[in-house]
Symmetry: C2
Subunit: 318 residues, 2 copies
């Protein structure tokens, strides 16, 4: 019996050894460990890729100052075309909020549809220019002040809706026919008070720009030839204002009574001095903004159709 | 002895059981399994997120037909401004390859720098127009054919570099001053032979467009008033061609000898008939492209500076 018991125990032990198979367990553990390591590596890699793509994708970043773009606009044949290409530039800029102000008595369907089809952050405002201040058919475009009431409407909106203590940002006036390189938005984002840079194709020159003292790095003048007697002889596209600084100076606005070319000075004289201007764009040696103008298209055939009671765009938005 | 041996065996067996500790192994295996499952879930989640963002981000997709954009360009004050805003539109279009052809004897530094700073897929070509075919200073822009040699150079490049059996795509002629909604690229991508759509602000009309038979959905005419006798009275911006179809017709090209306004017909007569045209843009009822034109900027002050031996943009690229 004892021998049988002994034999049974040996068999049991042998089976136990086979079942236990510590080498097999060890191998499995090793495999799982390796797999775990690989998964961790992969997770890191994917997270990194995600971060990079997010960066390329210009997702809203709560840490980044917001660029508030103020654009006056008015109905004309090229309006939708101009707004469309401008919106493409803005789609490539992170943390951008577009304040589009129509010179109109009502929110037009064209601009309303257009804005609701973009994926931009926007505010759609209206501010009609009274008839006596409107430009007449054949009047040159510099006789009457343009965009004054629309830009002021946007400034009012900023002052009513943003908190100077909590909202970080910068304010920029971008007309709907100019051309903007993406670099100008990078440059302006961390403006402390008022920043300035060159503007191409304006004032009869290839480039209008602040002149910089190479030793101090400060603005010591401007190369403007047109109305150089202005305190700030620069174009609306050539400066940006820190949001909190603007909100702390409610007296800074545009004026209908001011002569053509003096609006920039009218606004900026409340906010800064020449000496305090912050030169951007590599010490004002680079051109990132161009004062382009779009030709009014020739509509001779359309006029003939109209005379006959037709129109080429019946029921179509152009 | 036998009892001692039996005891030893029992002890050995007991130790074996302790060492083996199958419960511990099992628990570890379970933990690792759970962990593996979690990681897999997370990986899927991240992959999905990545896919969504990639979609937003318009990353290159090997499955999607490529849009080959052919753009002739030439040196002028507004060139960089125009190329900049056009590039912003293209940056928002997936699987786009930009073929930019300079009317120049060499690759200019301005265009070379510009292209290398974009993140677009591009090919930079040159094709100089001989002096006798160049537009003279005061000559109206419709006397001499424009962009003919540049567009042909791009067609040659396509024919030399792409395989009609393997490369899926569509070819579109986009001038550097027009305005393009993103929808037009969606519309053209799956063109079978030649697709057509309305173009705004061209030919003296608010919109020039193919006329569609509402029953058959085919093109039965065009609303063009300017040179309506043309077989294809549409603008260069109003059609796109399937790449493989184009590659199979090497005879399709532009001609210097052809009269103004007839280039589109000259190319398309080799590729299609009116009846075979594919109407896009909601049966040609929507405008996604505008024939905008940019004013040559006034450079009066710059001319005065030049006379004195200065220039406002000395050492600066504008």
């Amino acid at each position: 019996l004892l021998y049988i018991a002994l034999l049974c125990l040996v068999v049991l032990w042998f089976l136990g050894v086979r079942n236990r198979d510590p080498d097999r367990y060890e191998a499995m553990r090793q495999t799982l460990n390796n797999y775990e390591f690989q998964l961790k590596e992969e997770k890191l890699l994917i997270a990194e890729k995600l971060r990079m793509i997010k960066k390329d994708c210009q997702i809203w970043d709560p840490e980044l100052p917001v660029i508030y773009i103020i654009t006056p606009t008015y109905a004309r044949p090229v309006q939708k075309a101009e707004l469309t290409r401008l919106s493409h530039t803005f789609m490539l800029v992170q943390n951008l909020h577009w304040i589009l102000v129509e010179d109109s008595d009502f929110h037009t369907p064209l601009v309303t549809n257009f804005l609701s089809n973009t994926h931009l952050n926007y505010t759609h405002l209206i501010a009609p220019t009274p008839a006596e201040w409107k430009r007449k058919e054949k009047e040159p475009n510099w006789v009457k002040p343009r965009g004054v009431l629309q830009r002021n409407r946007a400034l009012d909106w900023l002052r009513q809706n943003l908190n100077p203590d909590t909202h970080k940002g910068v304010v920029y006036f971008a007309d709907d026919d100019n051309s903007y390189g993406l670099e100008v938005f990078q440059e302006m984002r961390y403006t402390k008070e008022v920043s300035v840079w060159p503007v191409g194709l304006v004032g009869g020159l290839m480039v209008e720009k602040p002149e910089i003292d190479k030793t101090t790095g400060r603005v010591i003048g401007f190369n403007s030839v047109w109305k150089p007697e202005r305190q700030f002889p620069l174009d609306m596209a050539g400066f940006a204002i820190n949001l909190q600084h603007l909100l702390k100076h409610p007296e800074a606005r545009f004026q209908l009574s001011v002569k053509g070319g003096w609006q920039e000075t009218e606004l900026l004289r409340h906010l800064t001095t020449r000496e305090r201007l912050e030169p951007m764009a590599d010490n004002c040696t680079k051109v990132y903004v161009w004062h382009t103008r779009t030709e009014p298209p020739k509509m001779a055939e359309e006029e003939k159709l109209k005379a006959k009671g037709y129109s080429s765009n019946l029921g179509m938005e152009v």
